[in-house]
């Protein structure tokens, strides 16, 4: 093997260690944790499934059947997803799942399932770690969840519990506003074309 080939092999290894190299196509850098693989049919299958789940949920929600609206969305977030649907999943999967969890939390909160709603928000925040509207929206939903809980506790006479929930709601709304402001500032500084 010539010196040039040794150099080439060393560069391969360096490139393999530098995972960011895989995300260089099409001039758009991947966010933190993005798999950066080419868009493939598996990703599209997941997005199609998500689309169907939300449309089904829409129909049930329009009919006032919130419990039925929860079901397809729950199947989506608990079902198969590219990359396992966790932190190592493609960015689109994490973001769609985070948005779906926000919707689930909102629905469950309206159904009085406050603990389940709070867990969905936490799960969504684990997926949407970057400063994006997805993360900001989850904090907004957390605020709504705690606000509803506060009203319920207040109606039951649990004043202390209601006050604590109100405070958590305010904190969540504040956090949501801060995230949204940061996203807007970034977008203003470096506008991205929406497809």
């Amino acid at each position: 093997m010539t010196a040039r080939r040794w150099l080439a092999s060393a560069l391969v290894l360096l490139a393999l260690l530098g995972a960011g190299l895989t995300g260089c196509s099409k001039g758009e850098r991947s966010p933190e944790g993005d798999a950066g693989l080419p868009v493939d049919p598996v990703l599209l299958a997941y997005l199609s499934r998500a689309k169907s789940a939300h449309h089904i949920a829409d129909r049930h929600e329009e009919a006032g059947a919130l419990d039925k609206a929860v079901e397809p969305l729950q199947r989506l977030v608990d079902g198969p997803a590219p990359g396992g649907g966790g932190a190592s999943a493609p960015a689109e999967v994490r973001e769609v799942m985070a948005d779906t969890l926000a919707r689930l939390a909102d629905l469950k909160s309206q159904l009085g399932q406050h603990d389940a709603a709070a867990k969905d928000v936490e799960r969504g925040l684990e997926l949407a770690r970057e400063t994006t509207y997805f993360r900001g929206h989850l904090f907004e939903v957390r605020g709504l969840v705690d606000e509803r809980l506060a009203k319920e506790l207040d109606a039951k006479g649990d004043k202390a519990g209601a006050e604590a929930a109100k405070k958590r709601a305010l904190d969540a709304f504040e956090k949501s506003m801060a995230i949204q402001a940061e996203v807007i500032e970034r977008a203003t500084a470096k506008p991205e074309a929406a497809p």
Binding site: V12, A15, E28, S30, V39, L43, L47, E92, D99
Partner: protein, 202 residues
């Protein structure tokens, strides 16, 4: 086979034609097996099941084992592989990634380079990383102009990435479906674009 040669085929004798027709009908819509025939088939298959294997059976089993381990060929090994592929097909993402790598590296890639790809390429991410490093760093150094061409091909592939940039306003309540629709539409365009790129249609 050309049309002329198929026209030259001789017609089957009437009995063979009937036999073939019966076989095709039986394959398409199998009828009930005669109980007596069924018993006879079972008896024939289970004739002395505890008897030691014959030399022929031992040789055949060794040949099958070798074929399953990648040495030589055996019709039953092909069947076993087909069944395995049907029952547990390899991950689509990995296949896609290997195809992408092959496309990016070109069809005239040498055996030595293919070995390198396979060694690093069982994991999809690694394969793509190798492909990327090849066309971005090494190939230009070794092949001159070819590297530029390969880099241009890879530039055409849309990769998985955040959709955050697609949304310029804060999320409105009740608009989740519209957002998911929009993401799915954008990525379906990306997939179509990738297919065209891999086909060399641009």
């Amino acid at each position: 086979m050309t049309r002329d040669s198929s026209d030259d085929l001789a017609l089957l004798p009437e009995e063979q034609e009937e036999e073939l027709a019966r076989a095709l009908r039986a394959a398409f819509a199998p009828g009930q097996l005669d109980p007596a025939v069924n018993e006879a088939l079972i008896a024939a298959a289970l004739e002395d099941p505890l008897a030691p294997p014959s030399d022929e059976e031992i040789a055949e089993s060794e040949r099958l084992r070798d074929a399953l381990e990648g040495r030589g060929s055996h019709a039953s090994a092909d069947l076993a592989r087909a069944l395995r592929a049907a029952a547990a097909p390899p991950a689509l993402r990995e296949l896609d990634a290997e195809r992408v790598a092959e496309r990016v590296l070109g069809k005239r890639v040498s055996r030595r380079r293919k070995v390198l790809i396979v060694a690093f390429g069982t994991v999809a991410t690694t394969t793509v990383a190798l492909a990327a490093s090849w066309f971005l760093v090494i190939s230009p150094a070794l092949d001159g102009g070819r590297g530029t061409e390969l880099a241009a091909q890879a530039e055409a592939l849309a990769v998985s990435r955040s959709t955050a940039g697609m949304f310029s306003e804060k999320f409105e309540p009740g608009a989740t479906t519209a957002r998911v629709d929009r993401i799915a539409l954008a990525r379906s365009r990306d997939l179509r674009s990738n297919r065209y790129a891999l086909w060399g249609v641009r």
